[in-house]
């Protein structure tokens, strides 16, 4: 009887010791799974020209570009071109909005999940009104037809983006993939 009680106590102690470890692992796993932000790598920006690129400008451009991807993701998933407004302007906005309208007509939805961005700022115009960046991006795309998932594919593509400053942020004016 005593031995049985001892065994039970040891088991409980072992469980008590294991519980924090399990909780820690679960938390780590949740953090990893829950962190939906893509991995972002930025090439050195020393040679960006012809205008000198200030650190603050660089930070703002990268932040706004990644934000543009987030708004693109939601806009394409919900077929709502208006969600592009805060982050896209000009040709990029027109083309993306047209695609979303076509999707809506066809009953198609697409889910883009950007997993990694390899960014390189390549041009900052002399008057400071445009910044061009190259992005080798990896993303998963899901195609749904009338709500039915047709496929999920992993895609790697190289995008050229030109961003221009507006009142409060940099907006994407040109957004185009090119062959790697």
């Amino acid at each position: 009887m005593k031995r049985a009680m001892n065994n039970s106590g040891q088991r409980k102690r072992r469980q008590m010791r294991t519980l924090p470890l399990i909780a820690c692992l679960v938390f780590t796993a949740m953090s990893v799974l829950g962190s939906e932000g893509p991995v972002v790598r930025l090439a050195p920006t020393d040679s960006v020209g012809p205008r000198t690129l200030e650190k603050q400008t660089q930070t703002a451009v990268i932040r706004d570009y990644l934000e543009a991807w987030r708004s693109l993701t939601v806009a394409f998933e919900q077929n709502r071109p208006d969600l592009l407004d805060p982050n896209f302007v000009g040709t990029a906005k027109e083309k993306l909005a047209d695609t979303i309208l076509d999707q809506a007509k066809l009953g198609i939805q697409t889910r883009y999940r950007d997993g990694a961005h390899d960014l390189r700022l390549v041009f900052y115009s002399p008057e400071g009104l445009s910044i061009q960046l190259l992005d080798t991006v990896e993303y998963d795309v899901q195609v749904l037809d009338h709500g039915k998932l047709q496929t999920t594919q992993h895609v790697r593509a190289r995008y050229v983006a030109v961003m221009t400053p507006t009142e409060v942020r940099w907006k994407v004016r040109i957004f185009q993939a090119q062959p790697e």
Binding site: P50, L72, F76, T91, E94, K95, L96, D98, T99, D102, Q103, L106, I108, T110, Y112, V122, F123, S125, P126, E127, L129, S130, Q132, L134, V141, V143, D145, Q150, T151, Q153, V155, A157, R158, V160, V162, I174, F175, Q176, A177, Q178, P179
Partner: protein, 290 residues
Amino acid sequence: MKVRFTFLIGGMVLVAMQLAFAQTGALRLPRTVEAGSAFSIQSTGSGKATLYIVGPGQVLRRDVQLGETTSFAPGDLHNAGHYLAVLVGESSIDNGTFDVTAADQPAALSFLAKPSRLPVGLHSGISGVVYVFDTFKNLVLTPVQVSFQLSADAGGGQRQTVTTRDGVAWTKIDSGAKEAAAQFVAQAGSVSVTRVIQQVPGNPCSLRMNAHRAGQRLVLETEPVRDCGGNAVPDGTIVTFTEASSDGQATVDVPIKRGIARTEMPAYDGARVSVATGVVMGNEIRLGKE
């Protein structure tokens, strides 16, 4: 024994079906397609399927017959980008990717010239940036020669040719020596865009005044005020006349009108009168007894 045999047969059927599906779903895609041009996609197998062409730039859906060629007419796919092609059959799914590239021929330029107004003779004072697009507003990423030319009626044009890199070309040009509305032209292929740059005179280069008495008054007048290139300084530029006498000092600010500045001040014997504009000092006149 009977059960094992059934599993074996079932397994063989499944493998055979999978092989058949793999074969059925084979897509033959072009590697690259020029934006707006006709192209076709070949599939093998039989039965009906749906073909999706998906990308942020455009989305298309076609009902297709497996084993047949699906043709896309010119203009069907006109936005450059990376596209995913998905063929969904009754019992198979196949996919692949391909690129749509911009046409090499420029059709439109986005030309930003700054500033729109600047002084003459400024080194690298004018900047021009050009983004090159094709007919479908795709950025042309293949290298394109862009020529920049700054010219005015007064002559003395400057020309530079720059090759685009990732769709963009830029230059910096000196402003001309003579004041004029200069034409700043960017040209790629047969497409050209013009911007007007107003080249205005620079700062005054030298200043000289004359004085003569008119009774108790002293009439002061500058010679035509010019910049170092000989251009007349714009009307409205302020010229300051200062008269220092035993009574104290008097200062008058006068805007240039028709190239000269003119004013009257009290005529005091022995007074010293000086003139200045911007950072340029002119001559000094000492009044003698009348």
